[in-house]
């Protein structure tokens, strides 16, 4: 008898960040740096050259005191799927060296440092400023080299780097699963460093296509939104906020334009 082929959608890892929970403590940033061997310079106050794969932004409603409100927004790489989720992410589309690619098995946008020759087209193409360029060689003074993790290669001067959704953790978890004769991962087996460190539990990570994972239902929250959604970049990072002004800050709206109005771009060239 012919065996029926099971058609399962591929994995699509994504993140839901509850902005009502974020306190702006910066744990996610530090956890990411420690996990991914991100170096530190003597002066990191120039945020244009400071490499932080996930950065916590401060949004304000711009009202005068005491009606002012703040919302903190942690922003990793959005791992865009592009129009129709076909993998035409803004950065992947422009890379001349195939140094960044869309993995259809996980939905993760990779960055292969040894292929990158530093043209920075991807940085120009990324609407989220999620990519960072190594203007200098990384320096680990004193004995700090001892704290480097062998799971992530240190980057060199002249290459672009960005958040990988801790892809090495996925690889390690998959290796373990294969050894144990499994082909699938439990939700807890693959979590990013920022998710794990967040004291507020504001970050939830998992497979957006797997109904057993929390993110699959959370992304449909009525208060969920994505950044610059109308560009049709199809980001895999969702945000939740109970505040209207925060949700509106996620895109460029005209003064009287309703939030969640139709996208202005329906298709991209290329």
């Amino acid at each position: 008898m012919e065996k029926e082929t099971e058609h399962k959608p591929g994995k699509k890892y994504g993140m839901v960040i509850d902005l009502d929970k974020c306190t702006g403590c910066g744990s996610c940033m530090a956890a990411c740096m420690a996990e991914n061997n991100v170096p530190c310079k003597d002066d990191e106050s120039n945020k244009l050259t400071s490499i932080t794969w996930i950065r916590v932004y401060r949004l304000t409603n711009k009202k005068p005191f005491p009606e002012t409100e703040i919302c903190y927004l942690p922003k990793p790489c959005m791992h865009c799927g592009g129009v129709g989720d076909q993998g035409h992410s803004p950065c992947v589309s422009v890379c001349p060296a195939t140094a960044t690619d869309y993995d259809h098995g996980t939905g993760i946008v990779s960055q292969i440092y040894t292929r990158c020759f530093g043209c920075r087209y991807c940085m120009a193409a990324c609407p989220y400023h999620a990519r960072f360029f190594n203007w200098w060689d990384p320096i680990w003074p004193a004995d700090l080299k001892k704290s480097l993790s062998p799971n992530v290669s240190p980057r060199m001067r002249g290459v672009v780097e960005k958040c990988s959704f801790c892809f090495h953790r996925y690889q390690l978890a998959m290796e373990k699963a294969y050894v144990e004769g499994r082909r699938d991962l439990e939700e807890v087996e693959y979590q990013t460093a920022c998710t794990q460190a967040c004291p507020s539990g504001a970050i939830t990570f998992g497979d957006l296509n797997n109904p057993d994972h929390a993110v699959a239902t959370m992304k449909d929250d009525p208060n969920a939104f994505r950044l610059l959604e109308r560009l049709q970049t199809n980001p895999k990072v969702y945000y939740i906020s109970s505040r209207e002004w925060v949700r509106r800050a996620g895109d460029n709206y005209l003064k009287n334009e309703p939030t969640n109005s139709k996208p202005r771009v329906t298709a991209h060239h290329g």
Partner: protein
């Protein structure tokens, strides 16, 4: 052959098309990466077996458990310990950066003796034997001259075996001068001792998990107050349960942003707001009858004082709030259904604060029966597990002796230690009352307010011994350094006294082999004691520190080594100590230093989870998270309201000169709508000195600008800010 235009173009285009068809461009892009990337100085992290080990974080008093990931013998990552009662897997930016302390450039690599002038930072390495012999000789000289009382010690915490070994050493030698770094926990202890007529190691424990309404008088609930990770976790649970949290503050701090409810009270008027609320509660008869009656005392006088001094109009004028708003807040707070809890201690509570404020807030809780009750504030005994046989000569040696800081007796009977009073005592006429100072896990030269005076005072101390693992401002002034292991290389018990209700003791463990020629400070104290011979050595019957710890912890020792902590899950705080003494009068609020006419602004420090103002300076990862609205280049950034800025002719992002009665500093100004007009906020935790380039000489220490103010009741530093002026540079 003649090359005409046509053939030139054809050749060119043909060559281009031909090249594009070959793999050459792709080979070239590949080669460019290879040529530009193979640098021999780029590290290749070594591989090895991956193990996870349990430890405890000591970088703040919060008491988190940590899970340390090792590759071979290297520590590559610090994570939160799942299942730990404080952080349950979460971890803060500073905790994560602990590896940068372990392997960082500020570590002291061997015992060292000063070879230059004080503060010149010139050292020559010596052996451990010589270092211990030298310190022992110095102590002996002091004792033989009959000046044993001039032996003093400063530690970061007053509990746990390590600080108590120091305390014991001093006591056996005959000195009562064991001092600790003060914080809001000391103010809370003083309030509880005073208002509940208790003594001993009592702390305030806050039952946030079961509360129904939190009223915070400037406490940075999500910014490092109390036990930072427990507070962030609990605040999120409360928010999910739709528990109302109201923040009383002068600016939209991260806590106010998180609670989304800000009561903007004028600077320093927090206590008056609390008392104004109490007046409304008493006037409307909303107080808890059993809490004010029974064994409590002084209610009638307290009520009369409220009626006389805290009328709605008077409070409204002082606080800048509408009297209807105050009354509404008071009614909400008094409603028994709300299970309210009021807390104080500004920001992270690293500064002790005024007793006026602590007494007012504690009285407000007591008035509505929120003391020693579920969801309220408890008077809890600190974990009591250290039961070392007391040598009778030891207690006799210090009985009746007055401490240099005069804590624990007379006017300051409710306080254990008053480090803030030390500089003035040293600088008084004559010889320094401190002849020999031992400093361990504290950095008073940086953390005490009035830095200039503190520096002078420390320079006047004849001999300073530092046990610090890292080079800091205090160690830079030492004569000899006996470096401790880092907290990832040593055993240490850490009783957590950061507002928890249930008793908790963490155990730091040597998860890494010692990186340098350092020793556990506990071992060093025992060695010094043994070198001092009888009777001192007799009071230290342990072989070494590990032996002392194992014997002290008894049954708890083995389980703690396994689990990393000990707690009493079944612990239910006693309903005891309900007797409450209401104050008939409150001390005055601390006066702001400076002339109101020339300094029209009020400067307030701000604290955050990204910039730590305590003994441990920001580590590189944490400093990298600091926004450019706190630090830009080497300059501190101060926050003002755009209206204030405009009225002073300042420009957003431009330099200005900040002046207070204590000093001045060039700062960058940032305009922020979320701050009250007339207020300037300055981040705390900058202005470190030393050789660590990433942190040194950046910004200014708030202690340079804000002078200390001695509280008349507790004796602790009650300064919360200062008057200031801001002029265009």
């Amino acid at each position: 052959m003649k090359i005409d235009r046509r053939s030139f173009l054809a050749l060119g285009l043909g060559a281009a098309a031909g090249t594009a068809l070959t793999p050459l461009p792709w080979k070239l892009t590949d080669d460019i990466s290879i040529w530009t990337q193979n640098w021999r100085w780029l590290p290749v992290p070594g591989d090895g077996d991956v193990t996870m080990e349990i430890g405890a974080c000591t970088l703040c008093p919060g008491g988190c458990g940590i899970s340390v990931r090792k590759v071979g013998d290297r520590i590559v990552k610090i994570e939160g310990l799942p299942g730990h009662p404080v952080n349950d897997g979460g971890v803060c930016a500073l905790g994560i950066s602990g590896t940068q302390l372990l392997y960082g450039g500020s570590r002291i690599k061997s015992p060292m003796k000063r070879s230059g002038e004080r503060g010149q930072n010139k050292w020559s390495p010596i052996s451990w034997d010589d270092a211990i012999a030298e310190v022992t000789a110095q102590i002996k000289t002091l004792v033989e001259a009959g000046k044993q009382e001039s032996l003093a010690c400063i530690t970061g915490s007053g509990s746990g075996t390590t600080p108590l070994l120091f305390k014991r050493l001093l006591a056996v030698l005959g000195s009562p001068n064991f001092m600790t770094t003060s914080s809001m926990a000391d103010s809370y202890s003083a309030v509880i001792r005073k208002m509940h007529r208790l003594s001993g190691a009592v702390d305030a424990g806050f039952d946030f998990e079961n509360t129904g309404f939190v009223l915070s008088f400037g406490s940075g609930i999500v910014e490092g107050w109390g036990s930072p990770l427990r507070m962030i976790r609990t605040a999120n649970d409360l928010k999910t349960k739709k528990v109302s949290m109201v923040q009383v503050e002068q600016r939209l701090s991260n806590t106010a942003a998180f609670t989304q409810a800000l009561v903007a009270v004028k600077p320093g008027m927090e206590a008056d707001l609390a008392l104004g609320m109490a007046a409304v509660i008493v006037a409307e008869n909303l107080h808890n009858a059993s809490a004010v009656g029974g064994s409590s005392s002084g209610f009638a006088e307290f009520a009369a004082m409220l009626k006389q001094q805290f009328s709605p109009d008077a409070v409204s004028a002082k606080t800048g709030l509408k009297s209807t708003a105050i009354a509404e807040l008071a009614r909400k707070f008094a409603d028994p259904a709300n299970r309210s809890l009021a807390i104080c201690g500004r920001g992270q509570g690293s500064a002790p604060g005024s007793m006026r404020e602590f007494m007012a807030v504690h009285a407000l809780n007591a008035l509505v029966g929120r003391v020693n009750t579920q969801g309220g504030v408890y008077a809890v005994q600190a974990p009591d597990y250290i039961d070392w046989a007391k040598d009778s000569s030891m207690t006799a040696a210090i009985t009746g002796k007055i401490r240099i800081d005069e804590a624990g007796v007379g006017a300051f009977a409710h306080t254990d230690s008053l480090l803030n009073r030390l500089p003035a005592k040293i600088l008084a006429k004559g010889d320094s009352p401190v002849g020999l100072l031992l400093v361990s896990e504290a950095n008073p030269v940086y953390t005490l307010a009035g830095t200039k005076q503190v520096m002078e005072a420390f320079k006047k101390i004849p001999y300073i011994v530092s046990f610090s693992a890292t080079m800091d401002e205090t160690t830079a002034l030492a004569d000899i350094i006996l470096p401790n292991h880092s907290y990832l290389e040593r055993y240490q018990d850490i009783p957590v006294r950061a507002g928890l209700v249930k008793p908790l003791i963490n155990l730091a463990k040597p998860v890494a082999a010692p990186q340098y020629d350092t020793q556990n400070v506990g071992d060093v104290v025992i060695k010094i004691a043994k070198a001092l011979e009888t009777p001192v050595a007799d009071a230290f019957p342990w072989e070494n520190y590990e032996d002392c710890l194992a014997k002290t912890l008894g049954d708890k020792w083995e389980p703690m080594k396994e689990k990393g902590f000990w707690t009493d899950e079944a612990f239910v705080p006693g309903a005891g100590a309900t007797a409450f003494a209401f104050p008939a009068q409150l001390p005055d609020e601390p006066a702001l230093a400076g002339d109101e006419k020339t300094m029209a602004l009020v400067l307030l420090p701000k604290e955050s989870m990204r910039l730590w103002g305590g003994a441990v300076a920001d580590l590189p990862f944490v400093l990298k998270t600091v926004p450019d609205t706190d630090l830009k280049g080497n300059q501190v950034v101060v926050e003002v309201n755009p209206k204030t800025g405009a009225s002073l002719g300042l420009a957003d992002g431009k330099e200005a000169l900040l002046t207070t009665a204590s000093g001045s500093a060039t700062v960058t100004v940032t305009f922020f709508e979320g701050i009250m007009e007339g207020v300037v906020a300055i981040p705390k935790g900058l202005g470190h000195t030393g050789s660590e380039k990433y942190i040194a000489d950046k910004g200014v220490n708030t202690g340079d600008l804000i002078a200390p103010f001695e509280d008349p009741v507790s004796g602790l530093d009650a300064a919360f800010g200062t008057r200031a002026s801001l002029k265009r540079a």
